[in-house]
């Protein structure tokens, strides 16, 4: 659905932010995009939505370059950025003005989500708190029902009960035709939703696997034999990441996976690739 081909990017007078990025995003998935601060996650998302242009390579959505920003593409992409400005109008007016750009927009869904987030349509957006504004944008983004929905740190600013509401809303909004990309540091907020992990480090994609592939090849838990451990945290009763041999499937610990991949990139990728080829034969 969305493809990045040998993508390069740098801001004026800065070192490369993205180098040789190749990605292929498919519908029906929720992608988690992870990386340390300043590794280019937001930049990559902006390129995906056509807000920035790659210096080399290209990024296409449904076969067309996103930098062309044609209306037929833009009506099927929605981005919820980390920082944003919303006009000083009522929520209802905001919906009235902006929804016309999205043919699949569902009014019913939007007002349903507002109710879920405890917001009234006649509230003036400028009088809302940051978290409430974010909720308006999240509700709007989901209700646009675009094929591609990108979210940059969606849970920042949400209060504790809203995070659970957010997960419920997300779980109900994915379907076979949609592709959702979430960039976040709040791994715990979203770990039960994400089914594919991409990790950016040193301007490159160093990890791009589905969680199914990860659980096939790796095991997370307390290791009895320290020699097999690929990566571990905390000396006493700590968590470890190791090659899965005869153990039962374990739940992926995304934080541990992220740190593990940063330390042992090659080893982990090799294990997953090996497993992938083995099962095909």
């Amino acid at each position: 659905m969305l493809t990045a081909n040998n993508l390069y990017f740098n801001y004026p007078t800065s070192r490369p932010v993205l180098k040789a990025i190749n990605l292929e995003l498919k519908p029906g998935n929720i992608y988690g995009l992870f990386g340390k601060n300043g590794e280019g996650k937001s930049t990559l998302i902006k390129i995906m939505t056509g807000l920035l242009f790659p210096k080399a390579g290209n990024c296409t959505f449904k076969g067309k370059p996103t930098q062309k920003r044609g209306p037929e593409l833009l009506q099927d992409i929605f981005l919820i950025p980390e920082e944003f400005e919303l006009p000083s109008v009522s929520i209802k007016a905001f919906e009235y003005i902006n929804s016309v750009f999205y043919p699949s927009f569902s009014k019913e869904q939007f007002y349903g989500l507002l109710e879920e987030f405890q917001l009234q349509p006649r509230q003036l957006i400028s009088t809302l708190s940051f978290g409430q504004k974010k909720k308006v944008l999240i509700a709007f983004g989901i209700a646009t029902n675009t094929q591609l929905l990108l979210m940059d740190e969606p849970t920042n600013g949400l209060d504790i009960p809203s995070k659970s509401q957010f997960r419920k809303v997300m779980a109900s909004s994915v379907d076979e035709g949609k592709c959702i990309v979430v960039s976040t540091h709040q791994v715990r907020d979203l770990h039960s939703l994400i089914n594919h992990v991409m990790i950016l480090n040193n301007a490159q994609v160093i990890f791009d696997h589905s969680l199914d592939q990860v659980t096939q090849a790796l095991w997370f838990g307390r290791a009895s034999n320290q020699e097999e451990v690929i990566y571990s945290e905390g000396a006493f009763g700590g968590k470890s990441l190791l090659q899965r041999t005869d153990q039962d499937e374990s739940e992926v610990d995304l934080e541990l996976l992220f740190n593990g991949v940063l330390h042992e990139t090659q080893k982990i990728n090799q294990l997953i690739d090996k497993k992938g080829h083995g099962s095909k034969v």
Binding site: A171, S192, L193, F220, E249, E251
Partner: protein, 122 residues
Amino acid sequence: MDFDNSKPIYLQIVDFFYENILVKEWQEGTRIPSVREVAMMVEVNPNTAIRAFNHLQDLEVIYNKRGIGYFVSDNGYTKVLEIKRREFLEQNLPDVFKKMGLLGISFEQLKNAYNQHKNEKK
């Protein structure tokens, strides 16, 4: 729903189903929530929920009526009872035995504790 860190989420959803069937919240032959409803209820990716449904279908605990939804099998309760009993005998009990050995608790003591527990309940 809270997730235990070690067990795959889909298996935890399966356990959630077992419990509902065992306490007869979900009766045999009745319709159960859809994949989407379950995904929302436990806040997970619908793909994960589908895995739980498939797993239970393979075990013949639930079945799918095309276009209508999922139902608890007519012998669903017995099936679950069988599965959970096997799980108890093969997984939980060995753990208990191991602990008993480690702590030097005799079978006699265990028996007394069990009887006491039973009497208290009455």
